[in-house]
């Protein structure tokens, strides 16, 4: 299935993770003197925590970011109250940087598990650089582009984590989805008939589906969507199932890692796509 990168704008939930205790990630805001010359810098990192008790902090060269002393690192907040060890989660943290704040700064993300600090990468050559770019200013906040956790090897192992996450979904024969816009959901492929007939159609109220699976994907991952298990699985099985349920369906098979040229859609498909979006809007 196609790997799409999307900045999932999730609400900043500062809340408990452990039962009966306030989450260690929660830190009451410090009061300091704000001046017009201070700018809020927002950093974000995506990682799959070992457990829901892991704390994530950002540590950097600036004094406001701890000056490389882990004890003074800036605490980050998970975007959901119960981070799962099976699913990547986004952590964000804000730092107020006083003037001058356009100079290059270096930083790393660190984890704290049971009082022990785990640093990204394995040395200063894996430090992250923040080079000021005016286009990163969003509503008065400098939003440094979100990164993925750098493992000890120096790589983000994004592929490995994505694959692990994918296998955890496949192993459960489950469907995973998130609401990215008020009328748009993004998720993994359906693996059971009920995912389409009940979960998508009835529970979520979806009226149109865009599928990027290749033919191979459809046959190998969505074969559970057959009403009659004695029949062989084909892409038409899915098409007919959506039609039976009264859902609009567009199939745009896109191989992984395909370039822009390769994934270009035909005029007909493009028209059908826009037509679908209109349908999504009307029925929403």
């Amino acid at each position: 299935s196609r790997i799409l990168r999307i900045f999932l704008a999730q609400p900043f939930n500062v809340s408990d993770r452990r039962h009966i205790q306030i989450s260690p990630s929660y830190r009451a805001p410090e009061y300091c003197v704000y001046s017009q010359d201070m700018v809020v810098f927002r950093f974000g990192v995506i990682l799959t925590p070992e457990s829901s008790d892991v704390e994530v902090l950002v540590l950097g060269s600036r004094p406001e970011m701890g000056h490389w002393d882990p004890a003074r690192a800036v605490q980050m907040n998970p975007s959901r109250p119960v981070p799962s060890a099976c699913e990547p989660c986004l952590w964000t943290g804000d730092v107020h940087l006083s003037e001058p704040n356009t100079d290059k700064l270096w930083f790393k993300f660190i984890k704290r598990v049971d009082g022990n600090y785990i640093w990204e990468g394995n040395g200063p050559h894996h430090d992250r650089q923040c080079v000021y770019d005016d286009s990163n200013m969003v509503d008065g906040v400098y939003c440094h582009p979100i990164g993925h956790w750098i493992e000890e090897t120096g790589h983000t192992d994004e592929m490995k984590h994505t694959t692990n996450f994918y296998f955890s979904i496949a192993g459960q024969q489950a469907i995973h989805f998130s609401q990215v816009l008020p009328r748009v959901w993004l998720g993994s492929c359906p693996r059971r008939v009920e995912h389409i007939t009940l979960k998508l159609k009835q529970e979520l109220g979806v009226t149109a589906v865009m599928n990027f699976q290749t033919e191979w994907d459809v046959i190998n991952n969505s074969h559970g969507c057959r009403r009659d298990l004695s029949q062989p699985m084909t892409p038409e099985t899915i098409t007919h199932l959506y039609k039976d349920c009264g859902l609009s369906y567009i199939w745009i098979p896109t191989p992984d890692m395909s370039t822009e040229e390769e994934s270009r859609m035909s005029h007909h498909e493009l028209w059908a796509l826009f037509h679908t979006i209109k349908l999504i809007l009307i029925h929403g």
């Binding site: 609400p11 809340s15 452990r18 799962s84 008939v193």
Partner: protein, 397 residues
């Protein structure tokens, strides 16, 4: 552990009102003003000096105690040192000044948002949950989801205790469960939309009974105070009542009690009043919703639709779930705004009070006997517990 923690300020107010004022003239006893000092009568009752003089006979200087009518000499009264000392203590610097400290908005009980006490679950442990029930007796939290074992049982601290019901169409399986309810004895009732049936299990997960051929899209389920099962059918637009003999595992009666509902989903029954609430979701626009409230005889009491709420409050709600709290107030989950609201008493004009915000998609609600609000968030696969008093956070139950 007392549920209603009596605060120091309340006790101080009581002392001021009941002990430190004269019960005849209702003036505060005063250390400075001579004629308002507290004086004992030999019978034990206390008056201020002014009242003693007012009540005593001008010639023979005798008076009757206004409380017990015993006759005494004015000369036999004495200073009430106990109350004088108490008053001095309250006026001293060491004591928190009454009425000087204004209650913060987030501290005042009974208004504003509830506090998150704890949360558990997360993707993997919980997979796309759709329904939840909390046991009155044991406090266990039971939910239905798309995991390997479709029914998952947790304790109130979030420890996973048990699970049963695999994917399939056998009597012990669950195809696509949508909601779950518990009886007083711990039996588990599940609506299986994938199998078009309502299934009953023992608390251990052994299949007991199943109702087939009566439903097309069984959705919401709840058990009323008398142990009768209520089920909504989103396709047939009905609310049904099922009477089951749980001891023998026999279905006695299945009858439709209300028809022509528009895609009814979540149903809740009030243990106190017997009222029943049903959430309807309209096919045309999936975010439009309506809440219908009936009494125990299924006579319609009230109807709250999103258009009316929008007119009155300039707010669009998408009601996804409903529950009654211990006072009989109607509590709804709102998936559009990620919030939980209280609508107040069923037959009054709905007054929107926000209880919880910051949710993704509240799919089920429950109220425990300890007045904790339990929210099942389908968006991040987590169970979240909210309470009014933040102090409870540090107490073991």
């Amino acid at each position: 552990m007392s549920e209603t923690a009596v605060r120091a300020e309340d006790i101080l107010a009581e002392i001021q009102a009941n002990l430190l004022e004269c019960k005849v003239c209702f003036e505060k006893f005063s250390i400075q003003k001579r004629d308002h000092t507290a004086r004992n009568l030999p019978c034990g009752h206390v008056l201020c000096l002014k009242c003693i003089c007012a009540l005593s006979h001008p010639e023979n200087q005798r008076l009757e105690c206004p409380f017990c009518r015993k006759p005494w000499d004015v000369g036999s009264t004495s200073e009430c040192y106990a109350l004088i000392d108490l008053q001095e203590l309250l006026l001293s610097e060491a004591c928190p000044r009454l009425y000087d400290r204004v209650m913060g908005w987030t501290e005042s009980l009974g208004s504003g948002t509830l506090h998150l006490r704890s949360a558990f679950g997360g993707w993997g442990t919980v997979v796309n949950p759709s329904g939840m029930a909390v046991s009155e007796t044991s406090g266990k939290i039971v939910l239905v989801h798309d995991g390997e074992k479709r029914v998952a049982v947790f304790d109130a601290q979030g420890t996973h205790l048990d699970g049963f019901g695999r994917y399939g169409h056998n009597p012990s399986d669950l195809c696509h469960p949508l909601d779950v309810a518990l009886t007083k004895c711990g039996h588990v009732v599940v609506t299986d939309a994938g199998d078009q049936s309502v299934k009953v299990f023992t608390s251990q997960g052994r299949p007991m009974a199943a109702i087939r051929d009566s439903f097309r899209l069984p959705w919401g389920v709840d058990v009323d105070a008398r142990g009768r099962v209520l089920v909504t059918d989103a396709e047939m637009g009905t609310l049904s009542q099922v009477v089951i003999d749980f001891s023998r595992g026999v279905v006695l009666v299945t009858r439709v009690v209300f028809k022509e509902l528009r895609c009814p989903r979540s149903v809740a029954s009030c243990k106190a009043s017997g009222n029943i609430a049903v959430v309807e979701r309209f096919q045309a626009g999936f975010t439009a919703s309506c809440l219908r409230i009936f009494n125990s005889d299924f006579v319609p009491l009230a109807q709250v639709d999103s258009f009316a709420l929008n007119l009155k409050n300039s707010l669009s709600l998408s009601i996804s779930s409903v529950v009654f709290d211990i006072n009989g107030d109607v509590i709804v989950g709102d998936s559009r705004n990620g919030m939980v609201w209280s609508l107040g008493k069923p037959q009054t004009t709905p007054a929107l009070t926000p209880l919880v915000s910051g949710l993704l998609r509240p799919v089920a609600l429950a109220a425990t006997t300890m007045n904790v609000l339990v929210v099942l968030d389908g968006g991040d696969h987590a169970v979240k517990l909210y309470a009014a008093d933040k102090d409870d956070l540090y107490c073991e139950k």
